[in-house]
Amino acid sequence: MRSILLLTRAEISRLRRNKRYLLFTVGLPVILYLIVGKQATATVYGVPFAAYYMVAMATFGAFSGALNGNAIRISEERKVGWIRQLRLTPLPANGYVVAKILTSMVTTILSVVIVLLLGRFYGDVRLPLWEWIVIALVVWLGSTIFAALAVAIGYRFPPDQVQPITILVYFVFLALGGVWFPLSGTLQKIGEGTPTYAAIKISTDVIFGKSVPVGLPVALVVWLAIFVGLAILSVRSMAESV
C-alpha cells in the first residue's frame, strides 16, 4: 500500500505541472460558470439556474478530469513500456491502476471544491452544510465511473485511437447527461440513463428538497460496475502484452 501511495504522489506531482490538464478539469468549468452561471433566471429541474449550473460544472470538471487525461496517459505509458517496467518492481500487480484512480480522485476533488465554492460565493447558492457535502460526494464519487472507463480504454487501445474514442464518449455523456444544457422531452428520456445525468439530478433533487428516486443512485452503481468490469477485462487481456 505504501508503494501505491508513493506512485500516486508522483502521479499527482506530474499532473500539477500539466497545464493543459488543469485547464480542462479546473479552468474550463470555472470560466464557463463565470460566463454563464448568472445569465439565466429560470429554474432548471426545480432549482435556480445558478445552482443547476454549479452542479453541472462540478460534474463537468470531475468527469472530464477522470476520463480525459487518464485514458491517453495510460495508453501512452503502456506504449512506451512504463507499465511493463513497473511490473518488474516490487509494486503490487494492480498498483498502477489503483494509483491512477486515486490520482484522478485527488485531482477531481480539487475541481469539485473550487466549482462549489464559486457557486456559493459568485452564484450566491445558499444551502445547508449537509447538502453541500452530499453534492460534493455524489459528483466526486460519480467521477470514479469515468476513472474506471479511462483504465478500460487506455489499456485496450493504442494512443492514436484513444483520442477519438474519449472525445466521443466525452461528448455523448456530457451532452446526453445534461451537463452543458438542461434536458427536456425526448432527449431527457434518452439521457436519463447516463451517469452524468444521474449525478446532476441527484444533486438538484437534494437542493430542491424532494426525495431522490432510487433509480438515480442505482444507475451510478450500475455504470460503475460496468466500467470496472470493462477495466478488469482490459487489464487482464493485456496482461501478456504490456
Partner: protein, 323 residues
C-alpha cells in the same frame, strides 16, 4: 528476504512457451547459482526475450516450471529480490531522472540511496533533466539505474549496452563487476559476443528455444569443435573440399580457403594426401563468435534436415551473421 541456502537462484524446469504452432521456447531447463555472471546468447528469435519475460513473470510458460529464490517469479519480484532492465521497458514521462530513480527506489523494500544509484549508472549529470528529453544512451543508463535502485540479489539485463558507445560500455561493465563482486547473481542477454566473453563466467547459448550449450567461454569455444584452418590453393575443387573429414563449414574466396573443422589435423592431412600443396597454412582456435556461429549453424542444419525433405543436403558455406 535475502536468499540464503544452497539451492539455485533461478531454475527452469522443462519450460516451454508456444504461440500457436510456434515454439518460442521449447523445453528449456537450466539453473543459475548464486554469484554467477551468466550471459544468454542467441540469434534473434532464439527465445532469449521470451525466456527473460517468463523469468520476470511478464509471461506465463505454456508448460514447465520456473523458480526464483525458492518461489515463483512473481513473488520473487514483488519481494524485491530481482532488479531488471528490459529493452521493452520504458520510463515514466514528464518527470526528471532524479524523481524517477527516487520513485523506483521507494517502491523497493531495500532501497539504495538515490545518489549512489545515479553515480553507479553514470547519470549524475542528467539527474535534473526530464526523462523524455534524453538521448538513447542516456535513456539506457536510466533504465539500468532503475534495475539497481534497490538491493536485489539477482540482476537481469536484456542487452544492457545497446545504444552505448564503446567508452560508456566499458565503464558500464566496470561498474557491473563492482556490483557482482558484492555476491549478486547477474544474468544478461547480449549479442555482443566479446562482451559475453569478457564479462561472463558462464555462457548459455540458445537457439530455436532450446539450450544448445552451457559452459565457460573457453568451454563454449572448444565445444564448437573447432579450429579454423586457412590456406591458399589455386584451382580449388569445391566438392572435394566439402568432402573433407572433420569439416564443419567452408568458406572460399578465390584462392583463399577457410575451413572450420572439428579435427584440423585430419582435415589438413586429407588435403595433402589428395596431392594438393596449399600455401600460407594457418590453424587457429575459434573465437567465441565463430564458436557461437558454428554451434547455432549446426543446430539450424539439424533442424532443416529434420523438417525438410525437399532441401538438398549440401553443407554450404555458412555466412550468417549473429545478432
Amino acid at each position: 528476504m535475502s536468499h540464503s541456502g544452497t539451492g539455485p537462484v533461478v531454475s527452469f524446469e522443462n519450460v516451454s512457451k508456444h504461440y500457436g504452432s510456434l515454439k518460442a521456447v521449447d523445453g528449456l531447463s537450466l539453473d543459475l547459482r548464486a554469484g554467477e555472471t551468466v550471459a544468454l546468447l542467441g540469434p534473434n528469435g532464439a527465445g532469449k526475450s521470451t525466456s527473460l519475460d517468463m523469468l520476470l513473470a511478464l509471461r506465463k510458460p505454456t508448460s514447465g516450471k520456473i523458480r526464483m529464490f525458492g518461489s515463483d517469479p512473481y513473488h520473487a519480484i514483488k519481494s524485491g529480490n530481482v532488479g531488471a532492465m528490459l529493452q521493452s521497458g520504458g520510463l515514466m514521462p514528464e518527470v526528471t531522472v532524479r524523481e524517477l530513480v527516487t520513485l523506483v527506489a521507494g517502491l523497493h523494500p531495500r532501497p539504495v540511496p538515490v545518489a549512489t544509484t545515479l553515480r553507479r549508472a553514470g547519470i549524475e549529470d542528467v539527474a535534473g533533466q526530464r526523462v523524455d528529453r534524453l538521448s538513447g544512451g542516456q535513456t539506457q543508463r536510466v533504465r539500468f539505474a532503475l534495475a539497481i535502485a534497490g538491493e536485489s540479489d539477482l540482476i537481469v539485463l536484456d542487452e544492457p549496452t545497446t545504444a552505448m558507445d564503446v567508452e560508456t560500455r566499458q565503464r558500464f561493465w566496470a561498474q557491473m563487476k563492482e556490483e557482482v563482486a558484492e555476491g549478486k547473481t547477474l544474468l544478461f542477454a547480449t549479442h555482443y559476443l566479446e562482451e559475453a566473453d569478457q564479462a561472463a563466467d558462464r555462457i548459455l547459448v540458445i537457439n530455436r528455444g532450446r539450450l544448445l550449450a552451457d559452459g565457460t567461454p573457453a568451454e563454449i569455444k572448444s565445444r564448437a569443435g573447432a579450429k579454423q584452418l586457412s590456406f591458399r590453393l589455386q584451382n580449388v575443387h569445391e566438392p572435394f573440399l566439402l568432402s573433407l573429414p572433420g569439416l564443419v563449414s567452408l568458406d572460399v574466396h578465390s584462392d583463399i580457403v577457410h575451413i572450420q573443422s572439428s579435427d584440423s589435423d585430419k582435415t589438413l592431412y586429407a588435403v595433402l594426401d589428395a596431392g594438393y600443396r596449399p600455401t600460407d597454412i594457418e590453424v587457429t582456435g575459434l573465437g567465441l563468435e565463430q564458436a557461437f556461429l558454428a554451434i547455432t549453424a549446426e543446430d539450424d542444419r539439424e533442424a532443416d534436415e529434420q523438417s525438410a525433405a525437399q532441401a538438398p543436403q549440401t553443407t554450404k558455406p555458412t555466412a550468417r551473421s549473429a545478432r
